[in-house]
């Protein structure tokens, strides 16, 4: 009796079993490409909306402040900046295509804007990993 209960507890509810099927990295990839999309896929609507608003808001603020989008890195700091920018996923690529952001940092607010863009990318990576943890059951 106890063994059967343990087996059913390990298997989880039908909803949990259903959530374990499919491509396990989909929320991670979707969350990276579109901020909040990983949580939306897992039906965490409120969390996804707040994450999307925060990350898109921070990225937009960076663009409005004439922040620089790193494109061709020349030194280690530029490479790190590019890595941070790439964390925003499609936001970075769309902004590059549209020619948004400044080529050179010329005013103080542009320096802040550059940091806003990089940090938005890093926060998006954290959010995407959180979606992955929710998907794998590491986090409830």
């Amino acid at each position: 009796m106890a063994t059967e209960e343990n087996k059913s507890a390990a298997a989880g509810s039908p909803a949990q079993i259903e959530s374990q099927q499919g491509f396990v990295y989909l929320p991670l990839i979707a969350g990276w490409l579109v901020p909040g999309a990983g949580h939306f896929l897992l039906r965490k609507w409120g969390r996804g909306a707040l994450l999307a608003a925060s990350i898109v808001g921070m990225f937009s603020m960076g663009i409005v402040m004439q922040g620089k989008l790193h494109s061709s890195p020349h030194d280690i700091l530029d490479i790190l900046g590019l890595a941070g920018d790439l964390g925003t996923g499609l936001l970075y690529f769309v902004s590059r295509v549209l020619g948004l952001g400044a080529d050179q940092v010329q005013v103080t607010t542009a320096d802040y804007g550059t940091r806003f863009i990089v940090v938005a990318g890093l926060l998006n990576v954290i959010a995407a990993v959180d979606a992955h943890n929710l998907r794998t059951g590491r986090k409830s």
């Binding site: 707040l50 994450l51 808001g57 954290i126």
Partner: protein, 56 residues
């Protein structure tokens, strides 16, 4: 935009993400987000006064 509104917005956005991703229940998310926000803004105010006093 001046320095302080930029800092407050930065702290707000970062705290929301930290709160949601680092805690599991909604109440703990709110509390941790508020804690991070207070630390961000409080640190900025404290360091600003330190820099002001050093520069004098």
């Amino acid at each position: 935009m001046t320095h302080f509104p930029a800092v407050v917005l930065f702290a707000l956005f970062a705290s929301i993400v930290f709160g949601i991703t680092q805690r599991e229940t909604p109440m703990r998310m709110v509390r941790y987000g508020a804690y991070c926000f207070a630390l961000f803004v409080g640190s900025v105010i404290a360091l600003s006064w330190v820099m002001f006093l050093i520069a004098r």
